[in-house]
């Protein structure tokens, strides 16, 4: 149920350098939250930073009413957030946006993530497993440390995951796009879901489209309201589109069909 909640921080730790996992109790937001949706978090109580920060649902436990987020510290907002201690509260709004379209049960799914863009794919993976899909994941990580975090998480979910690191310290040496081209032809793929850097998602979309595989991408754009009211998070999906999509409301997940 969408709400603004004071969410109690149950656990908060730096799982790799600058990468944090935070679990909060937010039963209203958790109930009905779907993979691919996000929450809008207020970092700190003063006017600077002012706006909420969008963070994807990394994992949700609807029974416990808990939400887990995975985030990289990149600026002031995430830096402030990283200082919140267990037992404190954070101001959270959500769930927001249009999540991933779930496939029919039993299908073969490939998840392709880049960096912290892997976050929404984890919750998606959990839900896909629950509906008996065959889920495989390929992802790129900036460091061995980061990769270890993602790998562990996929393992916990019982998902076969292929890492790619630029230095080859874990898995494929190179980008996840290189990995994709190497591995994908050998496996059955009914649908692709991807989230990560723009360039990566573009390459994944190209691959999927050229192989007639349906797929979805999760986009990012600077946001103010998060609900479609301010029209700030505009994105022209294809150059020939007349109108701008609103990433917060029409997305953040979009069908690859809508993309250039």
């Amino acid at each position: 149920m969408p709400a603004v909640e004071k969410a109690l921080v149950a656990a908060h730790q730096e799982v790799a350098q600058g990468l944090y996992e935070i679990e909060v109790l937010a039963p209203q937001i958790a109930s009905g939250a779907r993979p691919g949706q996000f929450v809008h978090v207020r970092p700190g109580g003063t006017s600077d930073p002012l706006l909420r920060r969008p963070l994807s649902l990394y994992d949700v436990d609807q029974e416990l009413g808990s939400i887990t987020l995975l985030y990289k510290v990149v600026g002031r907002g995430t830096e402030l957030l990283s200082r919140v201690k267990s037992r404190e509260y954070i101001d959270m709004m959500g769930p927001l946006g249009r999540g991933f379209t779930l496939p029919q049960t039993g299908q073969s799914i490939l998840l392709i993530g880049g960096g912290v863009g892997i976050a929404p794919l984890i919750y998606l993976a959990r839900v896909l497993k629950a509906q008996d899909c065959t889920v495989q994941a390929a992802y790129g990580a900036a460091s061995l440390q980061d990769a270890a975090v993602y790998q562990r998480k996929f393992q916990q979910l019982g998902i076969e995951a292929w890492p790619a690191t630029m230095d080859g310290s874990l898995g494929y040496q190179g980008t996840v796009v290189g990995l994709l081209h190497q591995m994908a032809p050998a496996i059955k793929i009914d649908m692709i879901y991807t989230c990560g850097p723009e360039g990566m998602m573009k390459a994944v979309t190209d691959y999927a489209q050229s192989h007639q595989i349906p797929g979805e991408v999760s986009l990012e754009e600077t946001m103010a309201c998060g609900v479609g009211a301010c029209l700030g998070c505009a994105r022209k999906l294809k150059p020939e589109d007349a109108d701008y999509a609103k990433v917060c409301k029409d997305g953040p997940v979009f069908s690859m069909d809508l993309m250039a």
Binding site: M1, P2, A3, V4, R42, S47, D48, P49, L50, L51, R52, M93, E221, T222, M223, A224, C225, G226, V227, G228, A229, C230, L231, G232, C233, A234, R235, K236, A242, D243, Y244, K249
Partner: protein
């Protein structure tokens, strides 16, 4: 919040009459920050808000500016949405009926690039039921005057207000641009044009530069600055206008809590508007109404009117 449960506690009267616009409480959602009143429906009931000033509407549809359209600044944000809206026809046929049915106090906000644009848009809205007032966004370039903003020139302000007044019997509330040397002159011009109330302030013109790309952050280069950063400028202008011009004022610019709202009321605002503050806290309208009521109770005041302009009486 269910409407049949909307039973008010007795106590100070916080309803206001803003130049003919009756508001059940003195808080309005600012144009462009609350969409058409439904976007936030999971978080707050639009019917509970004093007035919902809907997204700026133009005669024809506009697709808006290329992104990035927003960027955060110290205690504020810049926006350059570019008046994206589906045009007045879609507004009156698709959005207005739903708002009406839901019992929302709707203020239409209209914009244009010629006096005729404003006139036609106002005339279309005037024919509808369910609109309580018209707010005029005059921070738009007048294409017939070389792109000079309507709101920066007293003669153009007077002309556009008078033209709209002639087309509607609804209260007309011009929204003043703060990007002027002398806000009082502009307010007087609006009054001469027949304004029923004044809304102030719109955003301050600003910009930001991305030092990585060495380019302006916004697709439109310039954008409007809103949020707490501009509050001191807003208060000053409202204080100046209250002293010199006898029109009720809808005051806003940077309000994020009850104390801010009280400052605006004491400076001379009959009612307040919140924009950027809604992004931070979607339940702010309810909090403000409650907070203002509480303040009045604690200070033994019967009605909000007793506080309007209080900072001038010392």
């Amino acid at each position: 919040m269910h409407k049949d449960a909307a039973i008010s506690k007795p106590g100070p009267d916080i309803s206001v009459n803003l130049g003919g616009l009756w508001m059940k409480n003195p808080v309005a959602a600012a144009s462009g920050t609350f969409g058409y009143g439904f976007e936030y429906q999971d978080y707050i009931d639009s019917a509970s808000i004093g007035a919902v000033i809907v997204k700026g509407t133009t005669l024809e549809k506009r697709v808006g500016n290329p992104p990035p359209r927003i960027c955060e600044t110290a205690a504020g944000m810049l926006n350059a949405i570019g008046l994206e809206n589906p045009g007045v026809e879609v507004f009156v046929t698709e959005y207005l009926p739903r708002l009406r049915q839901h019992g929302v106090t709707v203020v239409a906000n209209i914009a244009g690039n010629t006096v005729e644009d404003y006139e036609h848009t106002a005339a279309i809205i005037d024919k509808q039921s369910g609109v309580a007032a018209i707010e005029l966004n005059i921070s738009c370039p007048n294409v017939k005057q070389g792109g000079l903003q309507f709101g920066t020139d007293p003669a153009m302000v007077e002309a556009v207000v008078a033209a709209v007044k002639a087309r509607t019997s609804l209260p007309v509330i011009p929204k003043l641009s703060p990007n002027v040397t002398d806000i009082v002159t502009i307010a007087r011009a609006a009054q001469r044009g027949g304004a029923d109330a004044l809304a102030m302030i719109n955003t301050l013109l600003g910009m930001a530069i991305d030092i990585k790309t060495r380019r302006p952050v916004l697709g439109n280069v310039f954008g409007g600055l809103s949020g707490p950063a501009i509050k001191p400028v807003a208060l000053r202008m409202i204080y100046q206008v209250y002293r010199e011009v006898d029109l009720p004022i809808l005051g806003g610019g940077g309000i994020v809590n009850t104390a801010d709202a009280l400052e605006f009321i004491m400076a001379g605002a009959t009612a307040v508007s919140i924009g950027t503050g809604l992004f931070v806290n979607p339940t702010l309208p309810a909090e403000l109404s409650l907070g203002i009521k509480q303040y009045l109770t604690e200070h033994g005041l019967d009605k909000i009117g007793d506080l309007v302009g209080a900072a001038h009486r010392f």
